[in-house]
Symmetry: C3
Subunit: 256 residues, 3 copies
């Protein structure tokens, strides 16, 4: 079986930076199967990249190498990480974008040695791509660099009770459709309602439970409560962005 290397960047594709990285990977790991996750992360948006990585890294088969390059600190003394966690590998900058894997039980982290002559403005090509290829080829982590004890780990905000005893969360991501994903756990929300920017919405099952153009809440595919408009944009309708407060109201059965 060929090794899988996935790629996530904020480079877009039109300037060929990703193309150069792919060339480097295939030169060092000629049998690798390259899988594009996305190159359309907004420039420098580590938070959204982290949201996306959280969603896919464990869905790939054991042995997969995930290359993640959203790297505003390229060329500064921030470390370049290789992480082994849950039988997958991840490679990316030490800015929190790999937090989910770093927190995974038994995660092993090294600080990748920067090769002599690496461009200080393109570690994606000169540091991360070769490291990903090496891992794909079976190189032991220890050969990439020394163990790192305290990589940057970021947390998602945690919902907290407000003065009325209601759970107050917030939007953590807005997707292409304008759906707003919150940090409110969908497990506690069946039959509940949410309040967002003075509008109150029932937590339903799927978009088709309302008419086109109508709004609703639902439990998203990641298990979190989402605000949506059927065949429309909830972000636009309700003015939602990362950080917008969303409050979980009492459920119809009187339970919060």
């Amino acid at each position: 079986m060929f090794p899988i290397v996935t790629l996530l960047t904020d480079f877009g594709t039109a300037d060929g930076y990703v193309g150069q990285m792919k060339g480097v990977i295939l030169t060092h790991a000629p049998g690798a199967a390259l899988v594009d996750i996305t190159h359309d992360i907004a420039p420098q948006d580590v938070t959204h990249a982290r949201f996306v990585v959280d969603g896919y890294w464990r869905r790939f088969p054991p042995g997969t190498v995930h290359l993640v390059v959203v790297d505003p600190g390229v060329g500064t003394p921030r470390a370049a990480l290789a992480v082994a966690a849950d039988h997958r590998f991840l490679v990316g900058p030490d800015n929190g974008v790999l937090s989910a894997a770093l927190r995974h039980e038994g995660a092993h982290v090294v600080s990748i040695d920067v090769p002599h002559g690496a461009s200080p403005v393109f570690h994606g090509r000169d540091v991360f791509a070769p490291a990903a290829a090496a891992l794909a080829e079976g190189t032991p982590m220890g050969q990439l660099g020394a163990e790192l004890r305290a990589p940057v780990c970021l947390d998602w905000p945690v919902p907290r009770p407000n003065e009325l005893g209601q759970l107050e969360g917030e939007v953590i991501a807005v997707d292409r459709f304008g759906n707003a994903i919150t940090n409110l756990d969908g497990a506690v929300a069946a039959g509940a309602r949410v309040n967002v920017n003075t509008s109150e919405l029932g937590v339903l099952r799927t978009y088709g439970d309302v008419e086109p153009g109508q709004s609703l809440a639902l439990v998203g595919s990641g298990g979190l409560i989402e605000i949506a408009v059927r065949e429309g944009s909830a972000a636009q309708r309700f003015g939602l962005q990362r950080g917008t407060k969303v409050t979980l109201l009492r459920g119809v059965n009187g339970q919060p």
Copy 2:
């Protein structure tokens, strides 16, 4: 030879939904070669997706599995289809997006059983991706679900003669370049002219037959008459969109 699985969605890539689907496919069909068609279909635009699918599904080798997820009705009682037609497989929602394959002689259709625990808002990941992987691995259609008798089949509008006896068609797609593809068959159009929004254009051979910035009609790569502007946008110039009427005028040789 490895099995090929192509992917078409309206998900964009930036939110990782497609990444999750790819992980699921490669977990269930580890040797599959993933081929991106597009993830940039406008949200919920089943019609354009159908236009695109029509163009590529039979151009891939026998055995290819085409995953097509433009699915405004996700989670509703609409069926999830697996189709075997002309030695290819297609997987997608029962909303007409697979019409071309469904109409193909000898097409075999099943309604995919929705796995227990599937997210009602992400059948792409939890229903269609596993089904595509299963087909790629050689699973017989019958193991995915029961035969479906009357899937949704959509037609393209058919050109009709107007009161002057001219064939009146319409724009069925506008592409990235602003070329407007009509439903007028190019086979009958050599030497003809078309009328669109009061402008009259000759049906020429290729863009280079006029100067940059000039407009023309031509027979597109799918065999249909197209309205174009060389190195410009016909859609913008003439105000064209899906449904805009385009009339085939008498040819220069006096034939319609």
Copy 3:
């Protein structure tokens, strides 16, 4: 090892043109590994495509076939090229987009015979894709067509001294981040300053050498001087586009 075929176009993906090309390649070269470089080149922007090709074509392993289709002259008498250079193959229109490979020592060029029945508006699918697949399968260049003596070769503008003896270059590309890549060689620029639209910027090492929002010059990953704004767009800040003049000033050590 499977043969690698990379793809660069200005087609976007949403209309399925690239999907059709992929189907054709995999039909003719069933074991090929397809690698997307980009399909987001601005329509007909041969210059930017050439900039991108320059950056990646030699970074892929020997034997790789690069398919490059930015082709405003499709269907006109412009030749369709196959190039063998430095153990790689390139296929694309004779409009200069393959100049870097054409200039490579020992480059061998043929004019691809256009197959009977090829659409005059989609050589990407009907001429270039089959040729790329044939090369991937090991078909000798000579079987694709006759040798071509004088393909179109484009040069990048060369910096020249101005009346003050300063080297005057220009912007040759603007990337997604708004970084402006110039034709000034970074090798001579360490410790120097540049002048662009009346602003003067020091040539530093990397983005992180200034605060977020501040501007700088640096030596880009291709070895050329770049104008940048940390976590911002230099193109926007300074009104930069292809052709904007950039002057290399005396270095801090008194050397130009």
